[in-house]
Structures are given as structure tokens and as C-alpha cells.
């Protein structure tokens, strides 16, 4: 099992692995001991506006989507797929569907009732507030529990390979920290609190002792699916 630490290391790993043509799939789970804001590819202006005053690091990622506040409350997962892997990367929607369903299945195994939402379910669900934040909105195959977002997804489809990333909310996220860092209204933090949930909140857990076992289970399913051809691919 491959585990990395920190948003800077994560972005560097992605840049390095996509710098040359990818021959086989690879993945890494990420924990974030320190908070940081990771902004989407279209949010350069936000970083320019806040870089000098931010009290926590602001980083850019090359995938799309809104701002993500990483920290001890989140588990990241980065999977890279070769262009030739048509069973999981034929189209951007099939890649999202494959990973969304895989993670929802593993969360069910843990006892978390949740669903990866199909495109019809998220149609017309644009957010009124905090449009700049990843977790305020719903995109196809992201994972929800009782209408609240639990897992966000993003993707890069580059000349050398495909990256699909997921962020699972493990525990309560300090949305005020995100809004304060990006100089956004306090009301948007309250809105994000109402629109999101976490594994600890759903299962009433007080710790993350379950996490290593769960990561190992996801790792095994990825290994079986991507290297051994077991079920899990999108038909």
C-alpha cells in the first residue's frame, strides 16, 4: 500500500508521474497532517488575490473543480491510468463512474450508507453559494450521504496519462478556515457545513482507527481491478 503525506508532496507526485508516458496504473493515498488550500486549475486569480495574506499554504492543482481545504479531516487518493487502459479511462465520465462506484462500495462495506450520484441525479444541482468551493456542488459520480457530499472527484486527461483524484471527508471540516483564508463570507462556511458530512459524523466514531483497514481494502480492490482484471470496471 502506498501512502504519502501532505498536499505539496501530492502535487509533486502527480507532476512527476505525468511527466513521461505512463506504462501502467499506479495510485497513492494521501494524509494531510497540516492544513492547506488546493485550488482548481481555473482558480489562478483566487491564489493571486490571497497569496500574500493567507495564513495556510495555497497550492494549485492541474485538475479542474473548486477549492479544497485539505488537513487531518481528509483522505486523498490519486490514481493514474495509462491512455491505453480503455476499460477505466475510455471517457472522463466512465472514469468518474468507475472510481465513484468503487469508493461507494467500499464505504458501504464500512457501514456508511452512501451513493455515487449518476449524471441525471446531479442535473440542475448548481450551488447558490460558495460556487468557488469543491464541496459546495455536486458533480457526476461524486458520493453523497443523505444529500450531503462525502467524496469529491476531479480528473486530468493529459498526453502522458490520466489522473483521477478523490477526497474523502473523514471528520468535521473547519469550513470557516477555508472561507477566512480566501476572504469569503462567514455565511458560506455555514452553507458548506450544511452541504457536507464525514465518515466520523455518519458512524458516530470518535477516532480514525478504522482508516488503515479501510485504505487496505480500497488498495486491494484497486489492485484486483487494475492488475488482475477482477470486477469493478465499468461495463
Amino acid at each position: 500500500m502506498s501512502l504519502g503525506y501532505g498536499a505539496t508532496a501530492e502535487q509533486q507526485w502527480i507532476r512527476n508521474i505525468l511527466a513521461t508516458p505512463l506504462k501502467k496504473a499506479a495510485w497513492r493515498f494521501w494524509l494531510y497532517p497540516q492544513p492547506a488550500v488546493v485550488l482548481g486549475a481555473s482558480q489562478k486569480k483566487i491564489i493571486e488575490f490571497n497569496q500574500d495574506t493567507a495564513l495556510i499554504p495555497l497550492l494549485m492543482r492541474s485538475s479542474g473543480g473548486g477549492a479544497v481545504l485539505v488537513g487531518p479531516w481528509m483522505l486523498g487518493l490519486s490514481i493514474v491510468l495509462p491512455i491505453s487502459d480503455k476499460s477505466h479511462s475510455e471517457s472522463l465520465m466512465k472514469t468518474y463512474e468507475w472510481l465513484g462506484k468503487l469508493l461507494a462500495r467500499q464505504l458501504h462495506q464500512l457501514g456508511v450508507p452512501c451513493e455515487a450520484l449518476c449524471p441525471e441525479q446531479v442535473k440542475g444541482s448548481s450551488t447558490a453559494l460558495a460556487q468557488w468551493a469543491c464541496y459546495a456542488s455536486a458533480s457526476p459520480w461524486e458520493i453523497f450521504h443523505e444529500g450531503k457530499k462525502l467524496v469529491g472527484l476531479a480528473q486530468q486527461r493529459r498526453a502522458n496519462g490520466i489522473l483521477v483524484s478523490a477526497g474523502l471527508l473523514l471528520s468535521e471540516t473547519p469550513w470557516r478556515m477555508l472561507c477566512h483564508t480566501l476572504k469569503q463570507p462567514e455565511a458560506e462556511a455555514e452553507y458548506l457545513t450544511t452541504k457536507t458530512t464525514s465518515v466520523q459524523n455518519i458512524l458516530s466514531y470518535n477516532d480514525k482507527n478504522w482508516l488503515p483497514t479501510w485504505i487496505e481494502a480500497v488498495h486491494q480492490e484497486l489492485n484486483n481491478t487494475l492488475f488482475l482484471g477482477s470486477p469493478g470496471s465499468v461495463p
Partner: protein
């Protein structure tokens, strides 16, 4: 003359009416390009996409400006082969 587009497959399963954003151009009119060279970066459904040149040639016209959105099948630029 070849029209540069975001490949049709990219739009598979994407809800009707959805548009993509042209994030960055790597070339300009007059740039000579090789086959497979990255011409532009676009974003569709939280996915950053490289637009690659389908052939050797010269970019003749940019049709969708940076920070503009575009529809399925819409030409982003034109390429003169050779």
C-alpha cells in the same frame, strides 16, 4: 485545413447544454506544431484536458479565446497540414 476540437468521446455521458472552458493556449497563429503536441488545455466537468495536435502543420487561426466556453464539436482553432 483541420478543425481542432475537443474529441467527441470527451462529451460522452455529459449532460446536454454543458460547456467546456478554454483554460490556456500553448500556441498562437503561425506556430508550427508536430503531431501529438499539446495545443491547449480545457476544463470539462472538473476534468483538465490536453488538446493535442492531430497532425504536423501550422496553426492558422484561434477560434475560441482563453477563458471562453465552447460547445461539443465547436472548432477551437484551425490547423493547416504540412
Amino acid at each position: 485545413m483541420i478543425s481542432i476540437i475537443l474529441e467527441h468521446q470527451a462529451w460522452d455521458g455529459v449532460a446536454q447544454g454543458t460547456e467546456a472552458l478554454l483554460e490556456k493556449w500553448h500556441v498562437e497563429p503561425g506556430t508550427q506544431v508536430s503531431s501529438g503536441q499539446i495545443l491547449a488545455e480545457v476544463v470539462l466537468i472538473k476534468t483538465a484536458y490536453d488538446i493535442l495536435s492531430p497532425a504536423v502543420g501550422t496553426i492558422s487561426e484561434i477560434l475560441v479565446e482563453k477563458d471562453s466556453t465552447f460547445k461539443p464539436g465547436q472548432a477551437l482553432a484551425t490547423l493547416v497540414e504540412g
